[in-house]
Symmetry: C2
Subunit: 283 residues, 2 copies
């Protein structure tokens, strides 16, 4: 089974880690080395690569829709923490100056009017001078911090993707963009919930503190064992379900709001930046 | 002498607090009551009004320039903390749903191509369907917190406006917008600098922690007694100059970048919101 990033739904069908990739080699590679491997054709989920460096979600939209997405992020900073936004047409970001945003992710998705139409490894031929790219924080950074603090991550223990759910909470709309808040759920031992809140609360740029603790029905979630994205994760005795705002939220807004054209990363195939995770931990 | 807000330069010439305004009445008025007084024609600086509620800077720009300003804020969150951004044409904000942004500030400034052209008390006749309004955090909130923590504010003790300086630090440009970081300076007793950093560091939406402590020349400031905006403030024995990012920064960018049309609040004449200051203090 493909190793998927905890925060991303539905790994691309048929995409498996390439044979011969050693986990330790992946973890120890620099972000630049990893990006070169992907640029040269390696298609793997990025989880576990370039340990300690921030990975981001990618959303690319025409300038005409970029104001709406920028405003959507400003108004919904917990699910949509904008770590960088490029100038129209730019092919790199201050988060990874030597990266080419069109080639250096292992896998992309192409959307037209909210429908997934292609999943290429290179989007150079689709690039246009009016495209603005949004790089959005992801939960990798806080999962590392949780593990450092001794908080167990059940989905990793169980070898599963994190569970994600659409909620009955609407994001604050922005122009033509609207959609539901999507949350990820992690079962946390009750005696460690305070620690989990404190650790993630210090990382607002990677989704921050939980949005809800304990009562899924308050978010309109009827059945924890049937997530809308990702895998079901078993809740152990003494665990409480804890919910964080999820980086799938902007993709849900794209699907709901149907801009004529968009590019995103493929789930689990993120941009590796040159920024250490520690930069996004508040002192 | 007019009482001006600490974070704003050059009070409008000839504007004095209206006779008959009692300081205690002002402090105890609700934001809605204060806004009604201004809407009905009262022209006074808003400092001291509706104690405990957040006041904001206001910048209104045509939609064509709004993406640049939104991006400028995203890229420069310390000087330009965006507390709300409206839809084009909107005349109110979630921060003060009953307020009319065109009438409820005591005094506005109108800019054409970076030049100040008028200073009206009402901008209804200038409003257009394509105007986007940016409401930007101001240092009132953290000054209250500093005083609560026992940190003296020399400018208030001396009855002066805070000192503000253009620096040699360029903001990260965004589209057509660029300009220098503007900082405010407060002399802080050396034994209380740690407290000042901790208190303001917990308030990133109202400029957050200092950007510099102690060496004005490192910011290109040659003479502390000659601020670019505001008043000189005497530094007492044992005080160290501490510098915070300043909400004048976006106005400096407007002056430098010369959009065809812009409206701002007049210095010291802020929007009173319904949001308690405590909302912007992190736990």
């Amino acid at each position: 089974m493909a190793v998927t990033t905890p925060h991303q739904p539905q790994p691309a069908a048929g995409i498996e880690p390439a044979a011969g990739i050693d986990a330790q080699e992946a973890a120890q590679s620099s972000p630049a080395h990893a990006r070169k491997r992907y640029r040269d054709g390696l298609v793997v989920p990025t989880t576990g690569w370039a340990a300690g460096f921030t990975q981001t979600n990618l959303v690319t939209l025409p300038r005409d829709w970029a104001f709406d997405m920028l405003l959507f992020g400003q108004r919904n900073p917990q699910p949509v923490p904008l770590l960088d936004v490029t100038e129209p047409g730019a092919t790199s970001s201050v988060l990874a100056p030597d990266a080419d945003l069109r080639t250096d992710l292992p896998l992309y998705r192409v959307w037209r009017y909210g429908e997934l139409v292609d999943e290429p490894t290179d989007v150079t031929d689709l690039w246009r001078g009016d495209l603005v790219t949004f790089l959005i924080g992801c939960s990798f950074s806080f999962e590392t911090a949780l593990m450092d603090a001794g908080v167990p991550l059940r989905n990793l223990e169980q070898g599963r993707n994190v569970s994600m759910y659409r909620t009955n909470v609407e994001c604050r709309p922005a122009g033509r963009l609207s959609g539901p808040l999507v949350v990820s759920m992690r079962p946390i031992p009750s005696r460690q919930i305070v620690t989990a809140v404190q650790v993630t609360g210090r990382m607002p740029q990677v989704h921050g503190a939980p949005v809800h603790i304990g009562a899924p029905e308050a978010l309109g979630i009827a059945d924890l064992s049937a997530p809308d994205f990702g895998d079901p994760v078993d809740i152990q005795d003494g665990d409480v379900p804890v919910f964080w705002a999820c980086g799938v939220t902007p993709q849900a807004a794209l699907m709901a709001s149907r801009p004529p054209f968009a590019i995103t990363h493929a789930p689990g195939h993120m941009l590796l930046t040159d920024i250490p995770d520690s930069v996004y931990r508040q002192p």
